[in-house]
């Protein structure tokens, strides 16, 4: 190849990269813009679940006479339930955002409006349109997780014992968990028929939440071995355990290396499935 041809080839590569990046940024800006306009519904969506949960279980119940008997984890040695709940509720917030930001809108776009057909006409690879959805959902997940903090500080009647030993580890877990939940939303949104999207709350969201070590640490399941093994296929387990390891290390938690590798594994798997499903749905 002559030098001129090489230079031209290189500049074509650069201009392609610039074209893709600009389209990606454009899509992200559009999502950000729309989110900013719908800030109020967004705030309600992300606050309601953790707020009510904390209110009922860590404020109302302890105030009841005999509240200790009703407190589901009163027996958990030396730790208040609110401390168990903090990382768990953050994991739920992250996961809910993935569903609400990707799966539900996608179901609508595939089924009713077909707006997606226009997004697919943007000058970047179709897979990148799907990846953009994951990234934007991750941003919402992180905001949703951050909101749990002040709520957990002010609402419970017993103080939360949180202590961050390693900020980089916390950030890593937060980012991995948020991206994984976006990828989960993409996989659900592209694999479920639009008419059946209402069902996923019963079939997917509820089971993975309740069996996601959200309301109890994984180590405490040791009395029920089959369940302790079974929940390992649930990505939410690694989100809540990861946040537990990063935020409330006083509680028992899984090994950080295991958590990070499993989150990475689920991120890759779900992104692959989601992108594949997305391509199948938009390209005839």
């Amino acid at each position: 190849m002559s030098e001129a041809a090489m230079v031209m080839g290189r500049s074509a590569e650069t201009s392609k990269a610039v074209q893709y990046t600009r389209a990606f940024v454009g899509l992200f800006l559009r999502d950000l813009y729309v989110l900013r306009r719908e800030l109020f519904p967004f705030a309600i969506r992300i606050c309601m679940n953790p707020l009510l949960f904390l209110f009922v279980f860590t404020f109302v119940m302890p105030h009841m006479s005999g509240g200790a008997a009703m407190n589901p984890t009163a027996a958990m040695a030396g730790t208040s339930f609110s401390t168990v709940l903090l990382p768990g509720l953050m994991a739920v917030a992250i996961m809910f955002s993935g569903i609400a930001a990707v799966a539900l809108p996608l179901a609508q776009e595939f089924g009713v409006t077909r707006e997606i057909d226009d997004r697919v006409m943007c000058p970047l690879p179709v897979a990148a349109v799907a990846i953009e959805k994951i990234c934007f959902s991750a941003l919402q997940s992180m905001i949703a997780a951050a909101i749990v903090f002040p709520l957990a500080y002010y609402v419970p009647s017993t103080p939360v014992v949180a202590h961050v030993t390693s900020w980089p580890f916390l950030m890593l877990v937060l980012v991995l968990a948020s991206l994984t939940s976006g990828a989960l939303g993409l996989t659900i949104g592209t694999s479920v028929k639009p008419q059946q999207i209402g069902l996923i709350f019963g079939v997917v969201v509820m089971p993975i939440t309740f069996l996601g070590c959200v309301y109890y640490p994984w180590a405490q399941l040791d009395k029920i071995r089959w369940l302790q093994r079974g929940v390992l296929v649930n990505p939410i387990v690694y989100m809540s355990e990861g946040l537990r390891a990063a935020l409330t290390p006083t509680l028992q938690h899984m090994s950080p290396i295991l958590i990070v590798s499993m989150l990475t594994f689920f991120l890759v798997l779900l992104t692959w499935l989601g992108v594949k499903g997305f391509m199948r749905r938009v390209i005839g």
Partner: protein
């Protein structure tokens, strides 16, 4: 050639094997207004979907401005504008934002995007509705916004899929004007339609397509001249058993070029000779003439001649 389609085939393998596009070859010149005319299910939309990278062909090749749409879809999309059959406007954004963000997706700077958006809103008489949301628009207006948005990034080719489907006659004429206006900008337009008036009125060249194949391709005038008749008379006869006999009788009338049997009776291709109508009626009466329709030569009569069917059947 700005659009080059070679041996295009699309087969949907499923419970039922459907050959949607069956070996289409066509080329469109730069600046041309090209029409794909055919009944519903002829393969027009599939062809357009493949050209616009939204479907993959089973075999064959499509190049838009020299870029292969299968090998480099993301690059090809820069040169393509699309207006699909259904409304794909971003429901969460206003008209202004729809066009503005479209410009950003295609790499415009914010200032450029603002300028281009304002210019397009003015060009398509949308400035007053700039702040409206897509759900507040009538079909005709939404269609105009879609066209404005599709050409915002200055594509080389604009694909319009059934642009007048669902539009009232007035909006249709406004849409035609908008499309004609595009040629001043040098944009090549490829449209599909099953309205022959639309193809006749708008297009420089028309391909008539049926069952995934191109039957004929030429200018509307040449296509109409090709069937060698100015009018088509369709006769409904009560006595079907005698259709063949009727054809023989009618063929002998002066001015009749050809006659053939149909499901309902007889079809005659004829010159516009004076007094032919009453002669036809007289000759057909003994066979129980129930009804008679006359079509001036149009692309529809070309289609009838080629397929023996009505375009709307």
């Amino acid at each position: 050639m700005i659009v080059e389609i070679e041996g295009l085939q699309k087969i949907y393998d499923g419970k039922q094997r459907v050959v949607a596009v069956d070996g289409i070859d066509l080329t469109v010149r730069e600046g041309e207004l090209y029409g794909l005319l055919g009944p519903n299910g002829a393969g027009k939309t599939t062809t357009i979907s493949i050209c616009t990278t939204r479907a993959l062909p089973t075999s064959g090749r499509v190049r838009i401005a020299g870029v292969d749409v299968v090998a480099a879809p993301a690059i090809a999309r820069k040169g393509i504008g699309v207006v699909p059959q259904y409304n794909t406007l971003d429901r969460a954004c206003t008209i202004y934002e729809n066009i503005h963000f479209h410009c950003l997706y295609f790499g415009f700077s914010r200032t450029e995007a603002k300028q281009r958006t304002e210019q397009l809103l003015a060009q398509f008489h949308l400035t007053e509705r700039a702040g409206a949301y897509p759900s507040q628009l009538s079909g005709g207006l939404a269609q105009r916004v879609q066209i404005a948005r599709a050409i915002a990034h200055r594509p080389k080719v604009l694909f319009l899929d059934e642009p007048s489907a669902g539009l009232d006659p007035q909006s249709r004429i406004a849409m035609w004007d908008a499309v004609r206006g595009l040629r001043q900008e040098g944009i090549t337009v490829v449209l599909t339609t099953h309205y022959m008036e639309e193809a006749d009125e708008l297009c420089d060249r028309v391909a008539i397509i049926d069952h995934g194949k191109i039957l004929v391709e030429d200018t509307p005038a040449a296509l109409k001249a090709s069937i060698g008749a100015q009018r088509v008379y369709q006769l409904d006869l009560r006595d079907r058993s005698k259709c063949y006999e009727a054809v023989e009788v009618l063929k002998k009338l002066s001015g009749v070029n050809e006659a053939e049997t149909t499901d309902k009776g007889v079809r005659i291709f004829a010159q516009g000779t004076d007094g032919l109508l009453s002669e036809i009626v007289q000759a057909a009466n003994p066979y129980g003439l129930r009804d008679l329709t006359i079509n001036e030569t149009s692309l529809e009569t070309v289609f009838i001649r080629l397929t023996g069917r009505d375009l709307r059947e």
